[in-house]
Symmetry: C2
Subunit: 396 residues, 2 copies
Amino acid sequence: MNINTNFNKLPDYYLFTEINNRKKTFEQAHPDARLIKLGVGDVTLPLPRTIVDAMHQAVEELAHIETFRGYGLEQGSRFLRHAVIDNDYKPLGINLDIDEVFISDGAGSDLGNLSELFSTNNRVAVLDPVYPAYIDTNVIAGRAGEWINGRWSEIEYLPCTAENNFVPPLPKSKPDIIYLCFPNNPTGTTLSRSQLQDWVNFAIQNHSIIIFDSAYEIFIQDPDVPHSIYEIWGADQCAIEVRSYSKTAGFTSVRCGYTIVPKATGLNQMWQRRQCTKYNGTSYISQRGAQATYTPQGKAGIMHNINYYKHNASLFLDSLRSMGYQVYGGVNSPYLWLRTPDNLDSWTFFDLLLNKCQILCAPGVGFGKCGEGYVRLSAFASHETTQEAINRIKQM
Amino acid sequence: MNINTNFNKLPDYYLFTEINNRKKTFEQAHPDARLIKLGVGDVTLPLPRTIVDAMHQAVEELAHIETFRGYGLEQGSRFLRHAVIDNDYKPLGINLDIDEVFISDGAGSDLGNLSELFSTNNRVAVLDPVYPAYIDTNVIAGRAGEWINGRWSEIEYLPCTAENNFVPPLPKSKPDIIYLCFPNNPTGTTLSRSQLQDWVNFAIQNHSIIIFDSAYEIFIQDPDVPHSIYEIWGADQCAIEVRSYSKTAGFTSVRCGYTIVPKATGLNQMWQRRQCTKYNGTSYISQRGAQATYTPQGKAGIMHNINYYKHNASLFLDSLRSMGYQVYGGVNSPYLWLRTPDNLDSWTFFDLLLNKCQILCAPGVGFGKCGEGYVRLSAFASHETTQEAINRIKQM
């Protein structure tokens, strides 16, 4: 048997493993330190009661022969696909067919697996900094070329830095697959309608497909920031939108998300076939929980939590700026993208925050070369912990 | 953008879609018929109370800030991986490291995704008849060649028929990847220890990897049938074992399974990397449910259900044989593999059962050429329905 040798190309280095290693070393040296963890983007608030009750009910259904359920549809239950269309798209003026909605166990799986729809020789473009999984999945698929000077030879990187106001330039090559993530992870920045229209126009002209990750959509508050790429004219011909209940509803352990593959992309039937071959559907319990996020109490409950995180983000933004830091994101996103002071590199500032403030962040360079000189902070801690982190940074 | 053109090779025909179409046509013509559905292999009995309670508790934990959980490990929670080792492997004398166990959302995903570990030019061997997804996932990956006369040119098919007592011959080519499923779906037959040893020896000699699907392991009752391929000497060097709670514990809607990738295969780190890149872990609620299957009450509850299905299988086997049918399986499996009378082809007998008995089965030819002249019946209905089906067949 011959292995897929592309796996050998993946660097051993993995960002969150390295963060964890430095954390462990610190904790061993300082066993009494009260570490504030703002590195990983994971939610912390409990689920609203109405969502919990919906999952209790789903669990209980499985205990009785009259209500027991076996295999669901690979594409997801119709009740949830209807709820997605009625709540997430119709109010934006977007019409979707139920067959264009595919329920998943979270954005992570779909963002990885969508790559199977495309030829190996397709060219990929990503933003820099970027969520590493977009790249790694294409390394495994053999589209990345060679790892030279910290970049993949066959991938086009589109810089997003303070210098271009975090608006990526259109690609110079004609990439076949373009990964966009807005509100962006890690920078927390967004594109306006007209900026996103430029991307859709580019994709249509160049027959590219945009894989649009909008896991952080619920944090959008600026009226000029689109909530879905399908608000943009022509996007149904060239864009796949991937969403998740992880950040929206605190489902990082529950596992549920969905992906829109419009028929006009020509890829709908292929994705349907892929899912029916390699996926046996999403947990019924998780789908009932997701459905409950659309009830009036569910919506109120999740917005209560989102507003809690937004308050943290806003507190961070104002406080850090008043201390003289250059900070981005934090408005339509739970992430703050902090420029390191004195041109320190990301890891040096990471160590400084860890040792002087006992604060764990994510070093920007871990997301790509253009992340060098930045760190990412998350707004998912409690109000008290966020305030404590601010106080510690103030005294640094 | 160029698509993965391998998708175009997949035949439009899909077994269970065709079964469903014929069912619909029949129901429209006979709206009052009481149809007995023995076609799809889906469980019907409710979950044992102790498993339901464990999932209720997991759901409730997510409602409170003190017990809320976010992302779990991509490889699965340690509590469940320990339970798998202690209950499914240690009693068989098999030692596994916790890093060799990967929790999944079910066997379907892993059986599909494991193919990514291998080079595109690897050669595949499958049994015939065979569960269609093993083949389709390799068609998508580009390993199947062309569809000629109802078979893929680059896949080696190993016939399993009454003529060879459903013991597949060793491959003539040197396949790199061999899919085995025992207790077998669809035939319900098994291999003895010494028969499976022949396969492991073959794999070691030829540097092949065996992907061993043992989703129906819990139905094994013959003492000479191994419960895991790792009972066989050398299998840790050449076999990946894929298991599921779907049939074991009635989890077809809950979604949980696991895959063993021994370090001695050389593939463990690759699978770990694949999962960390393209999978964000299995639902915490499902994992707590799976853990509860290993408690004394959990084990008793699931064996109660399994014995219920076994009773059906045994009733079917005895009754059909006493009517003069040639029937296989049904002892270590919930499936019965019935030779059609009078050399009828599978679909003709399917239509006969549907029209004369209002019974829905799965036509054997849908699983491969060597399934021609057989149909599959499942033992997942109620005792009463099973008895009713037998009565109807008797009167046919």
